[in-house]
Amino acid sequence: MTRGKLAVTGLTKRFGAHVAVDGVDLEVDAGSFVALLGPSGCGKTTLLRCIAGLATADAGSIRIDGRDMSELPPWRRSLGMVFQSYALFPHMTVAANVGFGLKMRGEVDGGRVGRMLELVRMSDFGTRRPAQLSGGQQQRVALARALVTEPPVLLLDEPLSALDAKLRLAMRTELRELQRRLGITTLFVTHDQDEAMAMADRVAVMDQGRIVQIADPVTLYRKPASPFVAEFVGRINRLDNIIPGIASRIAMVRPELVQLSAAGAPSDGARSDHSDAAAGLAIDGEVIDLVFVGDRIEIHVRAGDLRILSTRQSSGEPPPAIGTRVRATWRRDDLLVY
């Protein structure tokens, strides 16, 4: 399906003096899955609501397949939306909920409703009421309801945040598979960076009303455009003031790229420890905590005023015991410098 290209240009939304969305440009290719990721208050939900038409932007345009939607009220934009609370109509059955969009168009079609329910694996629940469903089931009905009119774009406002951890993980895959199958352009708002990285083709990281970086998950993780992105996506070590020559800039390194060896011993036999430390590629400290997270082990090291985090596979070499003096090292190429 090639329809469903979303183009947002210069979108701005103010609430009084507060600028919630600040001149945002966003292009989402037809059929792709983009996540809007950011902390609370960054404007991601406001941006989504502007695209849906539930909030009126102060400036900018919203185009779907070239057609300008900015002047249209939400009931004429034909988009599909899933809300955080699912917002299922409590007085209607599941089937009536799913068929609502069709009914509003005057297209009553039990067959389409049935097929949609099958797609989300809720066929047996057609006559039930929302109050009789579990969270995961409600979520699937909300999805079916949004998709039944075959909209060009699907908007999701933190749809998984009300679910428990295991169900969230299961729904992640289910949602992504469904999206791929239907090939529908999808915009997904979340504050959970694991979720964004796991599901999206591209992730747009937002901060204070702006998109600070938009890239595929790998690029986002390996080449964050700013300290904010580096800290928001994944875990990171800040190496302030220990790297000569760049003391006035910010230097960071990912925990899985921090090697630990016995204090005083070089990590790489060919170099002397002295030059490593002098070059800002090593620091000595003491292991103060070990955290076992199933497949990973986190080793927390205190080095002077700094806290360094090193992570490794739990199936690999066992970690040094708490209290051990260690040397944390990393390679120059792995440094993120701003």
Binding site: A52, G53, L54, P73, P74, W75, R76, R77, S78, L79, G80, M81, F83, Q84, S85, A87, L88, F89, P90, H91, M92, F100, G101, M104, R105, R129, A131, R145, A146, T149
Partner: protein
């Protein structure tokens, strides 16, 4: 055990007057006495054939329905506006709309009489209608507002994204979710109006008399079992309304948003 006893006594205490009235309605005597010397249908037949009772009965029913409808039409938009919390002075407006509850009925009726007379509605059905709507509106508003406050605002937004413009989302989504509040409110409104004396007393004219006023008038001049008969009819009517609602809709389903049939 003690609890059961207490409940039985309390129930008996509450129902006793109604039972006495019901029994006396069937008396064969020409005077009120309990227990009656004999039983007969004469008082019931007399009352049912008497336009000076039947006309007021019809008026009361009509008035109750009209006041409940008017209160619903006014209370639903008010409740929606108040529940959305976007208005300044929402608390003050709410207090104002609920204020008839805090006023002594007689004070309210005197004020209404003066005001409506000025408007030319001093007596007659129109004046009664306005007066009763004012009296029952708080009952309706209270229940509808309680339900409106519990409604997820995202419901209406979801309806919008599914293609429903504001009017259609109101009809298909908002109104149905408010239904429990509206029905409970309408029931209260009807019953309050049906029983209302102060406003009706001051504003009834011969043609627009309500049942409570007619009964009062009768009692003032003759204390006979006709009173018991008409009261029984009134009680039966109210019970019939409640039963009908229970059978057709299920009172629990109508008044509680979560109950299921």
């Amino acid at each position: 055990m003690i609890r059961r006893l207490y409940m039985t006594l309390a129930g008996a205490f509450l129902l006793a007057p109604l039972i006495v009235v019901g029994v006396v309605a069937f008396t064969s005597a020409s005077f009120v006495s309990f227990p009656p010397p004999g039983y007969s249908l004469r008082w019931l037949t007399r009352v049912l054939a008497d336009p000076s009772f039947m006309r007021p009965l019809a008026n009361s029913i009509l008035l109750g329905l009209a006041a409940a409808c008017a209160a619903a039409i006014l209370a639903v938009p008010a409740a929606l506006a108040l529940a959305r919390r976007q208005m300044r002075h929402a608390a003050e407006i709410e207090s104002f709309l609920l204020s008839p509850l805090s006023l002594p009925a007689l004070i309210l009726s005197i004020a209404l009489l003066f005001y409506l007379s000025r408007l030319g509605l001093g007596s007659g059905f129109a004046g009664l209608f306005v007066g009763h709507t004012v009296v029952v509106l708080p009952y309706m508003l209270r229940t509808v507002l309680a339900v409106a406050r519990g409604v997820d605002p995202a419901l209406e937004e979801a309806a919008h994204t599914l293609g429903a413009d504001p009017w259609r989302s109101f009809i298909h989504v908002t109104l149905p979710t408010l239904r429990p509040g509206i029905v409970a409110g309408a029931l209260f409104a009807f019953l309050v109006s049906f029983d209302e004396v102060a406003v009706a007393l001051l504003m009834s004219s011969v043609g627009s008399m309500t049942l409570p006023v007619a009964i009062l008038n009768h009692v003032a001049h003759n204390y006979d079992p006709a009173i018991a008969a008409i009261s029984l009819i009134k009680i039966v009517l109210v019970i019939a309304v409640l039963l009908a609602l229970e059978l057709f809709f299920g009172l629990d389903r109508l008044m509680l948003s979560r109950a299921r049939r």
